[in-house]
């Protein structure tokens, strides 16, 4: 297939394309899912992270 004689190599070639396609389909189907309200932990973490970055 595809001019590649070894099935294990053309399988890898096809799987690369299919797995990238799976990523796109997953994103498309879950585009608006998973949004969460910001928790106090998130706020504290972000401020602490900014302080650390500022010092570095």
């Amino acid at each position: 297939m595809l001019g590649i004689p070894d099935p294990w190599v053309w399988l890898a070639y096809i799987l690369c394309l299919l797995s990238a396609l799976a990523c796109v389909v997953y994103s498309w189907r879950h585009w608006n899912r998973g949004d969460e309200t910001v928790q106090p932990d998130d706020v504290r973490w972000a401020k602490q992270e900014d302080q650390l970055e500022e010092k570095l």
């Binding site: 595809l2 190599v9 890898a12 990523c23 994103s27 498309w28 879950h30 949004d35 992270e49 570095l56």
Partner: protein, 647 residues
């Protein structure tokens, strides 16, 4: 190739630099803090976030190092691309991203060792993880550094050590003067240019070799030009997997490709400290969901294209590469015009001279020309291999080639003494050094301006990766080791830690440069970039993966189990590298040969194959026999009130 640069080339590069600078300024002026992204609700388009992530994740190591390995070993490396997409993006983003983000925020962890240390309430876990990262991350840094250096050296025809020093100086300036704070828009632009560049490279390559199917067939037909050193370890051509089996040296390549390159790097990506912390910087699972698609396509365009074109570069050079002149020593396949040439050089008066290779006792080689040996009837003879008085080996310079279709012979007539001309494969053109295959291919095949932009983009991508690597080294030493061991003894508190972080970054960088300097002197079938990367990825997988995944997914994993698992994973990997794995064991130098030298294939098996199963087993067994962690702490970690909810 870049010695003569035209005005158009300069203009394109200046335009690129201007746009990069402008976008960087826009991004810096607009959204610049984590709080902005997470709390103040400023939205970063998932497209921008994914490309930024990808540009930081993919560096010269993946494109130059592993793309070159595909030039040497073939398209079997596409299994690594599949792992990069399916494991490194799909599984990592969908299954590990959200638990990492939530637990990191709840425990206020800002580094990977800190996340492990706080989940397991163990300073020993944090210090140990920090020490392992600080000690071994420079190895991965060296791989990225060498990738950039090889490209600079090949493109500008400058000596490797000079290019290494030049690139290291630029990286040091970037890291110390503002590079630590990633500018997302610039990263994203680099991502777009890398994406476009790789896409153009793929199309150009397939068109040059006659299309997808024809190109693959041409590559398949070239397998009889493979050097004997590769066929003897199981290389069966660029479009076939290496020969599989165990107990014979002819299976070595399968174990190198599958256990070290595919599994070592493909699985190790899940426990990369500098990547795991990136999950904490997103606002919610929605951002991760949106980033999966762009991430998957981006990785396909990076490693998928690099590995495909790396392998196909052999077909490109066999069709369009430079012509070599020589006399046919052996006909490999008359129908295909595949021959073995003894290289010759023209001399005054229309005569030809043999090109002789001299290998000195210290391993250095020199070339010189000599008169072609003849028999009594005046017929040319092969060059006899001999050793001279000082122990240097003298032999002919042989090269597998495809005879030129238009003019296979330079000298007229059917006589015995004829000079032929033909093209060879990229493995040979790059002098057998896989790290030089991609730079050689791009500088030879692509237009100058494209090569220059590709070079700049690769270097910029390398710098963003290096910056995050050395940032991780610095915080591992400063925050995870020193501050954790002696929080009150540090005079001046945090300021003192910052100094330690900066010194650690500098030491890490110097270590990486030294590795880059000494590694160049080694010659082994797998060159230094993929080897160094695979060692670090494999080490991270064996040491951190079970404790990390177990820690964020299950309440049942106990602190003693995590520590024991990390110690077993680390020790088994270290011992395997020191005493068994070739060429690492002889490079470290405690043994002169692998202790399993007489047991074929074992020295080619990656430590991951031994270390990771043992590390997982240790985690399960010790967890089963130790007291469960206090449920109040677990409730805090997992954000649950029901102790059994996430078990």
């Amino acid at each position: 190739m870049f010695a003569q640069v035209a005005l158009i080339d300069i203009l394109v590069v200046l335009l690129y630099l201007f746009v990069t600078g402008y976008l960087g300024w826009l991004g810096y002026r607009g959204t610049k803090t984590t709080t902005d992204y997470l709390v103040a609700g400023r939205k970063a388009h998932p497209f921008i976030m994914s490309l930024s992530y990808g540009a930081t994740f993919i560096s010269t190591s993946a494109i130059v190092g592993f793309g070159g390995a595909a030039g040497l070993f073939g398209m079997s490396l596409l299994w690594l691309t599949f792992c990069n997409i399916f494991v490194g993006i799909f599984i990592a983003f969908i299954f590990l991203g959200e638990p990492t983000r939530q637990m990191g925020h709840r425990l206020d962890a800002h580094t990977f060792p800190e996340l492990l240390g706080r989940r397991y309430q163990s300073r020993v876990v944090q210090v140990f993880a920090g020490a392992v990262i600080a000690l071994f991350m420079p190895l991965y840094g060296a791989a990225v550094l060498i990738g950039g250096t090889e490209f600079i050296a090949t493109a500008f025809h400058i000596e490797y050590n000079t290019a290494l020093l030049l690139f290291a100086t630029i990286v040091a300036a970037y890291v110390f003067f503002g590079g630590l704070k990633g500018v997302m828009y610039t990263d994203a632009l680099q991502g777009v240019i890398m994406f476009v560049g790789m896409f153009v490279l793929l199309i150009y390559t397939y068109v040059s070799v006659g299309g997808v199917v024809e190109g693959h067939r041409t590559l398949t037909d070239l397998k009889d030009l493979l050097p004997g050193t590769l066929t003897s370890i199981g290389h069966r051509g660029w479009t076939s997997m290496p020969e599989f089996g165990f107990g014979d040296p002819k299976y070595n390549l399968w174990w190198i490709v599958v256990s070290t390159i595919v599994m070592g790097v493909g699985i190790g990506v899940l426990a990369q400290p500098q990547l795991a912390v990136r999950f904490m910087t997103v606002k919610s699972k929605r951002e991760l969901n949106r980033a999966v698609g762009v991430g998957g396509v981006f990785i396909l365009a990076m490693t998928g294209v690099a590995f495909t074109t790396g392998a196909l570069s052999n077909a490109y050079f066999a069709i369009h590469g430079p012509l070599f002149q020589g006399r046919v020593i052996r006909t490999i396949d008359a129908d295909k015009g595949h021959v073995l040439l003894q290289l010759v050089r023209p001399a005054e008066g229309g005569a030809w001279l043999d090109l002789i290779k001299q290998t000195n006792p210290n391993g250095s080689t020199t070339n010189f020309t000599a008169a072609i040996p003849t028999n009594t009837e005046g017929q040319w003879l092969p060059v006899a291999k001999q050793t001279n008085a000082v122990g240097a080996i003298l032999e002919g310079t042989l090269l597998p080639a495809v005879l030129d279709a238009q003019q296979p012979y330079l000298t007229p007539g059917p006589g015995p003494n004829r000079v032929a001309q033909g093209r060879s494969i990229s493995v040979v053109v790059a002098k057998g050094v896989s790290d030089q295959i991609i730079p050689t291919y791009i500088t030879t095949a692509m237009p100058k301006w494209f090569g220059l932009i590709f070079l700049l983009t690769l270097l910029a991508a390398a710098m963003s990766t290096l910056s995050s690597q050395f940032h991780t080294v610095g915080t591992a030493v400063g925050r995870d080791v020193v501050e954790t061991i002696a929080p009150r003894r540090t005079t001046g508190g945090h300021d003192h830690t910052i100094s330690i972080v900066r010194v650690s970054i500098l030491v890490g960088l110097v270590l990486a440069v030294l590795i880059g300097y000494y590694a160049k002197k080694e010659a082994y079938v797998v060159s230094i970039i993929p080897r160094a990367t695979a060692i670090f990825f494999g080490l991270c997988a064996s040491t951190f993966l079970p404790a990390f995944v177990g820690g964020i997914m299950s309440r049942r994993v106990t602190p003693p189990a995590a520590l024991a698992s990390m110690l077993v994973g680390f020790l088994v990997t270290a011992l395997w590298l020191t005493f068994v794995k070739l060429p690492e064991c002889t490079t470290i130098g405690l043994v002169k040969a692998s202790v399993f030298a007489h047991a074929p294939n074992w020295p080619s098996v990656d430590p991951l194959f031994i270390g990771l199963p043992l590390s997982v087993l240790t985690l399960l067994v010790v967890s089963a026999f130790t007291r469960p962690t206090d449920s109040r702490h677990l409730d805090h970690c997992f954000g649950t009130r029901n102790p059994g909810a996430s078990a």
